[in-house]
C-alpha cells in the first residue's frame, strides 16, 4: 500500500468522524425551536441591520501582502531541500530571490501597509 493511499484513508476517516459526529448529534438532541431562541445572540438587545457591516480596507491590504508572502514561502520549499546538495550555488541563488523580496517587504513597511493605527 503506497503512502498516498494511507493519506487518502486518513483524509476520509477524518471527514467521516467529524461530519458523522455532527449528524449523529442531530438525531440525539431534542429540537424545540422558538422565535426568541432563534434570534442571533447580540447581548439581548434589539438586532439592528445586517451582521456583515463594512470592513476597513487595512484588512484587505493584510490579505494581499499575506498572499504574496505565501507564494514566496511555497516557492522556497523545493529550493530548501536542494541547499544541502548544491551548497553555495543554491545559497547565492536563494539569497538573490530573498533579497528582492526583502526589498518588497521594506517597501510595504515604508509605505505604511502594516500600519494598524492611524
Amino acid at each position: 500500500m503506497s503512502e498516498l493511499w494511507k493519506l487518502g484513508i486518513m483524509l476520509v476517516v477524518g471527514l467521516l468522524v467529524a461530519y458523522g459526529g455532527i449528524l449523529v448529534s442531530l438525531v440525539l438532541g431534542p429540537r424545540r425551536p422558538s422565535k426568541t431562541k432563534n434570534y442571533p445572540y447580540e447581548s439581548g438587545i434589539q438586532i439592528k441591520g445586517n451582521a456583515h457591516g463594512k470592513v476597513a480596507i487595512k484588512y484587505f491590504l493584510v490579505a494581499l501582502i499575506f498572499l504574496i508572502f505565501d507564494v514566496e514561502a511555497a516557492v522556497l520549499f523545493p529550493w530548501a531541500v536542494k541547499v544541502g546538495d548544491l551548497k553555495l550555488i543554491a545559497a547565492v541563488e536563494g539569497g538573490i530571490f530573498l533579497l528582492i523580496l526583502i526589498v518588497a517587504y521594506l517597501y510595504a513597511l515604508g509605505k505604511g501597509a502594516i500600519k494598524w493605527l492611524d
Partner: protein, 326 residues
C-alpha cells in the same frame, strides 16, 4: 493468529489505531488538565467530582454536549454552519497522518510530509472563518474577521520558520527530519526559527495570548457564539486536538522527535522522548494561557509582521549558512 499479526495491512491498521487513539485521548484529557492546572494556578480545586480526581469529566462533557439541542438561529447560513466545525475537527486527524511518534510508529511517511502538515493547518483556518461568517451575528462576524487576519498573518512566519528544518534535513519527509537531528536538535542552530514556530502555533490554535477571535470579554464567544451541541464540541475539541498536533509538530521539527537531548545519551531513542516533549509543550500551552494577558489587536498585527517575519527570514539565512558550511 501469528500470520494475521504479520500481515502488513493489519500492522498498519493497529499503528493507525494507536496513534489515533493516543492523540484523541490526549486532546480530551487536555481539557481536564487545563481546568486542573488553571485551578492550581489560581489556588482553586477544579473539577474533582466525576470519577477519581474528576478524570471522567471529559467523557461526561462530550456526552452531555452530544445530547443537547442543536440551536440553529434564523439568520444562519445552514450549509456553511454545518461545514465549519467539521473542518476544524477533521484537520488535526488529517495532519496526524504524517507525524512520526517513534521509530517506525507513524501512519504514513510520504516524501512531502511537511507540506501535508502545513496544508492541513491552512485548511483548518476555514473552520474558524466560515464559523464566523455563517453565523449572521455581529459578534461572530467580528470574531471571524479578526481570526482570519490573525491566522493569515501568523501563517507566514510559521511556514517560513518551517523551511529551516527542511534545509537542515534536505528533505520534506518528517521521518528524515527527525533522523537528521540524531546528532544535534535543529533547535540549537535554528533557535530563532524554533521560537518563531512555537509562538506562531499559539496564534494558529487561537490560544492566549492570541485568543482575540474568541475574546469573551469583547466578543462573547467570537466565531463560535452561535454554535451549540456537538458543533460547539467540535470547535472546542478541535482546538485541543490542534494543540496536540502543534506540540507534536514542534517536537518533530525542532526538538529531535524521538531522540534524546544529547548525542551521548542517545541509548534509548524511542517514543517516550516524544511523549515527554509533547507533554511539555502541552503544559506550556496551559501555563502561558493562565500567565499572560491578551494582546491588543494592533499589537498582534505588529508583532507578526514587524518582529516574527524578519526573525523567520533571519532564521532562513542562518539555516542556509549552517548547511553550506557544515
Amino acid at each position: 493468529m501469528v500470520e494475521l499479526l504479520s500481515n502488513p495491512y493489519v500492522i498498519w491498521a493497529i499503528k493507525t489505531l494507536i496513534i489515533f487513539g493516543a492523540v484523541m485521548t490526549a486532546a480530551a484529557y487536555m481539557v481536564w488538565v487545563e481546568r486542573r492546572v488553571a485551578a492550581w494556578i489560581q489556588d482553586r480545586i477544579g473539577p474533582n467530582v466525576v470519577g477519581p480526581f474528576g478524570l471522567l469529566q471529559p467523557i461526561a462533557d462530550v456526552l452531555k454536549l452530544a445530547f443537547k439541542e442543536e440551536v440553529i438561529p434564523d439568520r444562519v447560513d445552514r450549509l456553511l454552519h454545518f461545514l465549519a466545525p467539521g473542518i476544524l475537527f477533521a484537520a488535526p486527524i488529517i495532519a496526524m497522518a504524517v507525524i512520526p511518534y517513534g521509530p517506525g510508529l507513524w501512519i504514513s511517511n510520504p516524501d512531502f510530509g511537511l507540506l501535508w502538515l502545513l496544508a492541513a493547518t491552512s485548511i483548518a483556518g476555514y473552520g474558524v472563518i466560515l464559523g464566523g461568517l455563517s453565523s449572521g451575528s455581529k459578534y461572530s462576524v467580528l470574531g471571524g474577521l479578526r481570526s482570519t487576519s490573525q491566522i493569515v498573518s501568523y501563517e507566514i512566519p510559521m511556514v517560513i520558520a518551517a523551511i529551516g528544518p527542511a534545509i537542515g534535513a534536505g528533505s520534506l519527509s518528517l521521518v528524515d527530519i527527525v533522523e537528521a537531528q540524531k546528532a544535534m536538535w535543529f533547535a540549537v542552530p535554528q533557535f530563532i526559527g524554533f521560537m518563531v514556530f512555537l509562538i506562531t502555533t499559539y496564534a494558529e490554535t487561537n490560544r492566549l495570548p492570541f485568543d482575540l477571535p474568541e475574546a469573551e470579554s469583547e466578543l462573547v464567544g467570537g466565531y463560535h457564539t452561535e454554535f451549540s451541541s456537538l458543533r460547539f464540541a467540535w470547535f472546542f475539541a478541535g482546538e485541543y486536538a490542534n494543540m496536540v498536533i502543534a506540540s507534536s509538530a514542534v517536537s518533530v521539527l525542532f526538538m529531535g522527535g524521538w531522540y534524546g537531548p544529547l548525542p551521548g545519551i542517545n541509548i534509548f531513542p524511542g517514543v517516550h522522548w516524544m511523549i515527554l516533549k509533547v507533554a511539555f509543550f502541552l503544559f506550556l500551552f496551559v501555563w502561558i494561557r493562565w500567565t499572560l494577558p491578551r494582546f491588543r489587536f494592533d499589537q498582534l498585527m505588529y508583532f507578526s509582521w514587524k518582529v516574527l517575519l524578519p526573525l523567520a527570514l533571519l532564521n532562513l539565512f542562518i539555516a542556509t549558512a549552517f548547511k553550506v558550511i557544515w
